[in-house]
């Protein structure tokens, strides 16, 4: 062939490199773990320049107390919230003791006399207002969420914050339609709800808890997780500015002790908890016999089931989204991959390739796919379970990507050769680590998927509609996705079977835990 135009070299290095040379060099510099004869090179021939979201527009205090009775009150025993990507403290937050929690519960009780009697259409106005204010401040909230929790800005901007607003909008719509939600019954609010939320979706979990409680006429005392309290304080600001009657929403900061004070408080009518199964069990024991209502949304070990007839390339994207979304800090993550044996090698080869093109790094960079692990402790837990997986004989595959020098990061990882009796197939890792198992028949897939104490989520990938419905009926999980994964919508109820908890959040069903139905 005649010599063509000179191929363009796009990095700063001098020597032009032709495509052919690149092809050759990639054979010698195969990414680790790659065993295909013709590997692809995801290199730096043309690289994305850093594109960090600016933080200059964010406003927050250096020191926070609590939000009680419509006011920010000072507290004591401050702890620091760390930016997991830089390991630097962001702000200090007080720890509420039993007396402070009591103050918050009293404020909530007082406010319930007003809020519980208010017409639904009036309550809706406040909720709509909060939703709109969240939308107006979505950029700031997204940046703060990424700074405090380590999640990539792409997710906090495109998933978390829009869903937060959507939840408030959805439940604002229900507030004046409660009698239609449960035809033939009379409904009234439960009273004061104590709500304890986790660190993986800080503001979204706050919205999941607060929006239905308020729509149904309850007042709340909410405790955000101690590693991610920042956006809850921003939400308190919004709530104050929205003119919500004082005490309808109270937010207390603190760790486990503060949570225990909420759970043990005698004047709380309902506890809603999202977090680990261990703590969920402690809470259930603690309130046994007290008459408090309880909903729990706990851990999971979701099975993502790939049938041989599935659209494999899209399934691979679903697997990636299922386990690496939010660094795998997702209770409904698809952390157990069940692949039909006939396509196992194909799927694994594609997964190896796909994790090479994931961008791991600064959560505030708009091109980052996987951000920072939420805390040092969580990173330690992930490492311990990954070590267990390796020592139990499973084969580890990891992206060859470079990690930042500072901060808590973990490479996208998956294990092949995993069996049901491995710890990594049974225990929730809550990190970017996937266990790959195989099955031969649909029955075996169902048996393996259900062979877990958990039952929160599952995914089924098949081109056959009938099989999809059959599987959905046989799987013991609260959320089942067909040919997709990790899709959330305020209209859809979410919750678990077995040790993944009970009660539903979202949709019409999400009203029920906050209502007396007569």
């Amino acid at each position: 062939m005649a010599p063509g135009p000179r191929p363009l070299r796009c990095t700063s290095k001098d020597t032009p490199v032709t495509a052919k040379k690149t092809t050759k060099s990639k054979k010698t510099t195969k990414p680790p773990g790659s065993d295909t004869p013709h590997a692809l090179l995801y290199g730096d021939l043309w690289d994305y320049a850093p594109a960090p979201e600016s933080t200059g527009h964010t406003r927050f205090e250096k020191k926070y107390g609590h939000f009680i009775g419509g006011e920010f009150v000072a507290g004591k025993d401050h702890f620091k919230s760390i930016n997991p990507a830089t390991e630097e403290p962001i702000a200090e937050f007080a720890s509420a003791d039993a007396a402070m929690v009591d103050k918050a519960v009293k404020a909530a009780r007082k406010a319930h006399k007003v809020w519980g009697k208010m017409r639904g259409s009036e309550r809706a106005k406040y909720l709509f207002r909060i939703a709109r204010m969240i939308q107006e401040r979505s950029r700031e909230l997204a940046v703060l969420e990424s700074m405090d929790g380590g999640k990539p800005i792409r997710e906090s901007r495109d998933v978390d914050i829009p869903l937060v607003a959507a939840h408030f909008f959805h439940y604002a719509g229900w507030a004046d339609k409660l009698e239609y939600a449960f035809p033939g019954a009379r409904v009234s609010s439960v009273g004061v709800a104590g709500q304890i939320i986790p660190w993986n979706f800080p503001l979204l979990m706050a919205a999941w808890k607060i929006a239905p409680a308020l729509a149904t006429g309850n007042t709340v005392v909410l405790k955000p997780a101690e590693t991610t309290p920042l956006t809850a304080m921003k939400l308190a600001e919004i709530i104050a500015e929205a003119g919500l009657p004082p005490g309808v929403v109270n937010i207390v900061n603190g760790a486990g002790k503060t949570g225990a004070a909420i759970v043990d408080h005698p004047d709380i009518d309902k506890i809603a908890f999202t977090g680990s199964t261990d703590v969920g069990k402690i809470i259930q024991r603690a309130i046994a016999g007290t008459g408090k209502r309880l909903t729990l949304e706990l851990g999971g070990k979701g099975a993502n089931i790939i049938f041989a007839d599935a659209a494999i390339d899209q399934a691979v994207e679903g697997i990636i989204n299922g386990i690496f979304f939010n660094q795998g800090h997702v209770c409904c993550a698809g952390s157990r991959l069940l692949v039909q044996e006939s396509v196992h090698d194909e799927v694994v080869a594609k997964l190896k390739l796909r994790i090479e093109s994931l961008i791991v790094g600064d959560p505030l960079d708009k091109n980052t796919d996987i951000g920072a692990i939420n805390s040092k402790e969580q990173l330690g837990r992930i490492k311990a379970l990954v070590d267990a997986g390796a020592s139990e004989g499973a084969t580890m595959h990891q992206s060859s990507c470079a990690l930042p020098d500072r901060g808590y990061f973990f490479r996208p990882t998956f294990f092949t050769g995993v069996s049901q009796s491995h710890r990594i197939a049974q225990e929730e890792i809550f990190g970017p680590v996937l266990s790959v198992l195989t099955f031969r028949t649909p029955d075996e897939a169902v048996a393996k998927a259900n062979n877990t104490p958990y039952g929160l989520s599952a995914g089924v990938w098949t081109d056959k509609g009938s099989r999809l419905f059959e599987m959905a009926g046989a799987l013991r999980a609260g959320v089942i996705w067909g040919n997709t994964f990790n899709k959330f919508d305020p209209t859809s109820p979410f919750g678990g079977y077995k040790e993944s908890g009970f009660g539903r959040e979202g949709g019409r069903q999400g009203l029920l835990p906050y209502l007396e139905v007569r």
Binding site: M1, A2, P3, G4, P5, R6, P7, L8, C10, T11, S12, T18, A19, K20, T22, T23, K26, T36, P37, H38, A39, L40, L41, Y42, G43, D44, L45, W46, D47, Y48, A49, A51, R154, D158, D309, A310, A311, I312, D313, Q314, A315, E317, G318, A349, L353, S357, K366, N367, D463, N483, T484
Partner: protein
């Protein structure tokens, strides 16, 4: 081969998933140095095209001059990958592009419909190559494909490839008429198996022309074929890519699906005409900080 032809087994495509994946590339933030490098790379990948009934030698000469030197103010902008014309214009393009290294691509095989006897189409290909075309952009007979006569599609591509001799063959699938992604995947694989050097989305005469999900499905076919056989196949989305911003998204998709080896005009092209001036306008903006009026950019 005709009747005995067994179409290749290709994976099924989930339309929702493919669309969602393609959309992800649109959220890549390409600024500063990566934007400038990307825009120049795209300029070098453009198949600068004129395919009109009203084409004249004068029009083609103008286009060729533009192809050689896209921006008088910015000599660092590379010349384009190829000029794409109708077969009768090949001698003119050849004269204008002498010594430039820019390829001459010609749309043969009774473009854009492909509705003609294979013999006639082959004659056109041979004549066009003889006249100096470096690359032949053929169209498949969509009637054959949609009626399930895959063997005829395979045979036709194979015969055209043979007629091309040393010229590289780009096979236009006209995805806007194939409609489903399953069809796109199958047609891509048949074309590759039959010897296509490039697969190309569209003629530009049918809407929709190139889209990101369609291009993604074709890139994934190329990727899987390469991993299986070691043979690289090029890709050319054509039609509807008019802005630099959209072209950068395509480039990100190539980078993330096929990797560095395809980031050159030997393996990736944009079939476009108005794209080039938008690239120049964006590059000028990166240099000066301000957008220039279109009057400062020459017509092609």
């Amino acid at each position: 081969m005709g009747n005995d032809y067994v179409p290749p087994r290709v994976p099924t495509i989930d339309e929702v998933g493919a669309t969602e994946r393609a959309k992800r590339f649109s959220s890549r933030s390409l600024k500063k140095s990566s934007k400038v490098a990307g825009l120049k790379l795209i300029a070098s990948m453009v198949d600068l095209t004129t395919l009109e009934g009203a084409d004249t030698p004068g029009k083609v000469e103008t286009l060729c001059q533009k192809a050689r030197q896209p921006d008088l103010q910015a000599p660092d902008v590379p010349s384009v990958g190829a000029v794409c014309v109708y077969p009768p214009m090949v001698p003119i393009a050849k004269r204008c592009l002498e010594g430039s290294g820019i390829k001459i691509a010609a749309v043969a095989t009774y473009f854009p419909s492909g509705q003609a006897d294979l013999d006639h189409r082959l004659v056109e290909v041979r004549e066009t190559v003889k006249a100096g075309a470096d690359e032949i952009d053929m169209v498949i007979n969509r009637g054959d494909f949609l009626s399930g006569r895959y063997g005829r599609v395979f045979d036709e591509v194979e015969a055209v490839k043979e007629a091309c001799g040393s010229a590289r063959l780009k096979v236009i699938l006209e995805t806007g008429e194939l409609k489903t992604y399953d069809n796109v995947r199958l047609a891509s694989q048949i074309a590759i198996d039959a010897g296509a050097d490039f697969i190309k989305t569209s003629t530009g005469k049918v809407q929709p022309a190139a889209t990101m999900p369609v291009t993604l499905v074709m890139l994934e076919t190329i990727r899987d074929h390469y991993l299986k056989t070691g043979k690289m196949v090029g890709m050319k989305p054509a039609g509807g890519i008019r802005t630099a911003k959209l072209a950068l998204r395509y480039l990100a998709m190539v980078k993330e699906v096929l990797g560095d080896a395809w980031l050159s005009n030997e393996w990736f092209r944009f079939g476009a005409s108005s794209l080039l001036n938008d690239l120049l306008m964006q590059l000028a903006k990166e240099r000066s900080g301000n957008y220039q009026s279109s009057r400062y950019f020459t017509l092609g």
